[in-house]
C-alpha cells in the first residue's frame, strides 16, 4: 500500500494539482487498501475522470483508459488480430508455406486497453470510463475480468496479470449497472464541491486569480447549479471561466463581464438564454453578497 494514511494520499494528490474532498480521498484510499475496484458516480463535470488521472500521477502508475460506448466489443476492448498484417505476411511468404502458429503469434495481436492492463509489467491504473454506455454483455465480460484478471486468447493461451491493476470505473447513470458488478466495487457518489473547496481548486489551478474573483466565481457557479439547466457547469467550467476572467484583467464580477464570458460556463444555447438580463444581474448580486 503506497499511502500510509488518507492524509498522506491527500497530500500526494495535492502535489498532482488535484484537491479531492474527504469523501473521495477516503474512497481512493480504501479501494487501494482493500484492493477492490472503485465505482465513481456523479453528475457530469464533478471530476470523475480527473480523479483517476490524478491518482495515477500520485501513484506514479501508468494510466490505461478504456472509454466505453454503445456496441463496445471484445475486439475494441481486449484484442483483435491484425488481419492486414497477417495477409501481407502470407503474400510475402507465398513461395513457401506459412505456419498457422506463426500467423497467430504475439506480433500480429493488436492490444486494446484491457489486455494492455493485464499484460503490463509496471503498476497500472485502469480507468473504465462511462461503463453505463457499454452493453450489458460487455458488463458481464468485465465482471469476469475483474474477478480473476486473466484473459484467454485461444491461439495464445491464458494471460494472467502479473499484478492486479488498480481499477476505477465511472458511470453517469444513463442506466443502472448490474448488482453483481456493483457488489465487486466500492461505491462513491461524487457531489459538486462545496464553495470553499471550489475556491481552493480555482486558486490552485488558475495562477494569479484575484482572491475576490475566485470566491465570486465559485459562488456564482454554485448558484447556477441550483437552476434547472440542460448542462449544469462542472468544476472544469469554473476553472476555464476564472482563467478567462483573469486573462481579461477582471478583479470582481459584474453583470457586464459575466454576460461577456458566460459562454465558457454554460455550453448550451438554451442555458445561456435562460441566464441573462435580470436573472443574470440577480445571480451576480447573490454571488457578490456572499
Amino acid at each position: 500500500m503506497p499511502f500510509a494514511s488518507i492524509d498522506d494520499l491527500e497530500s500526494a494528490l495535492a502535489r498532482a494539482s488535484y484537491l479531492p474532498d474527504r469523501g473521495l480521498s477516503t474512497a481512493l484510499y480504501l479501494s487501494l487498501t482493500l484492493e477492490k475496484p472503485l465505482l465513481l458516480e456523479g453528475e457530469a463535470g464533478v471530476g470523475k475522470t480527473e480523479a483517476a488521472k490524478s491518482i495515477a500521477t500520485a501513484l506514479g502508475a501508468r494510466l490505461i483508459r478504456l472509454q466505453c460506448y454503445e456496441g463496445l466489443d471484445v475486439a475494441h476492448a481486449v484484442y483483435e488480430w491484425n488481419y492486414a498484417r497477417q495477409l501481407l505476411h502470407i503474400r510475402a511468404a507465398q513461395e513457401g508455406t506459412v505456419d498457422e502458429a506463426e500467423l497467430f503469434g504475439p506480433e500480429f495481436l493488436i492490444r486494446r486497453p484491457l489486455l494492455e492492463a493485464v499484460e503490463a509489467d509496471e503498476p497500472v491504473v485502469l480507468l473504465i470510463d462511462e461503463i453505463d454506455r457499454a452493453d450489458e454483455e460487455f458488463e458481464a465480460f468485465l465482471l469476469e475480468l475483474l474477478s480473476d484478471f486473466q484473459i484467454t486468447v485461444p491461439e495464445l493461451g491464458t494471460i494472467v496479470a502479473k499484478q492486479r491493476p488498480y481499477v476505477i470505473l465511472t458511470s453517469n447513470r444513463t442506466r443502472e449497472l448490474h448488482d453483481a458488478l456493483k457488489r465487486r466495487c466500492l461505491f462513491h457518489w461524487i457531489s459538486h464541491p462545496t464553495i470553499e473547496k471550489e475556491i481552493e481548486i480555482v486558486k490552485l489551478r488558475v495562477p494569479g486569480v484575484p482572491e475576490r474573483l475566485a470566491a465570486e466565481a465559485a459562488a456564482f457557479v454554485a448558484e447556477l447549479r441550483l437552476l434547472d439547466l440542460q448542462k449544469p457547469p462542472g468544476v472544469a467550467e469554473t476553472i476555464d471561466w476564472a482563467r478567462a476572467l483573469t486573462a481579461l484583467g477582471t478583479r470582481e464580477l459584474d453583470a457586464e463581464n459575466v454576460q461577456l464570458t458566460l459562454g465558457s460556463v454554460l455550453k448550451y444555447h438554451e442555458d445561456l438564454l435562460s441566464v441573462r438580463d435580470e436573472a443574470l444581474a440577480g445571480l451576480v448580486a447573490t454571488a457578490r453578497a456572499r
Binding site: A27, L30, T33, L34, R183, F187
Partner: protein, 88 residues
C-alpha cells in the same frame, strides 16, 4: 473500543440498514470492518465515508443510509447513551 465490540456494532448497524431498506450482503459488512481497520476511528467523517462506501452501492440508498447513520452513531433518535459513549 475492543475489536469484537466494533464487529458487533457494525453487524448490528448492517441490520439497522436492512430495516430502512438498504440491502447489505455479508461480504459488504466484512469490507466495512476491513475498511475501519485502516482508517482513524476517532475521525467521525472517515468512519462515515468508510461505512457509506463499503455498505451502500446505489445512489438511491444514500438518503436512507444517512438517516440510519445519524440515528445509530450520532444519537439523533432512539440510540441509547451507552452506544453513543462507545462511539466517541
Amino acid at each position: 473500543m475492543p475489536a469484537d465490540a466494533v464487529v458487533r456494532h457494525i453487524v448490528t448497524f448492517g441490520r439497522v440498514l436492512r430495516e430502512v431498506g438498504v440491502e447489505v450482503g455479508p461480504g459488504r459488512v466484512a469490507d466495512a470492518l476491513r475498511g475501519l481497520d485502516s482508517v482513524e476511528l476517532a475521525r467521525q467523517d472517515d468512519v462515515y465515508w468508510t461505512l457509506r462506501q463499503t455498505l451502500v452501492s446505489r445512489r438511491e440508498d444514500l438518503e436512507s443510509f444517512d438517516i440510519a447513520f445519524d440515528s445509530w452513531f450520532l444519537g439523533a433518535a432512539g440510540v441509547q447513551p451507552k452506544q453513543r459513549a462507545a462511539e466517541s
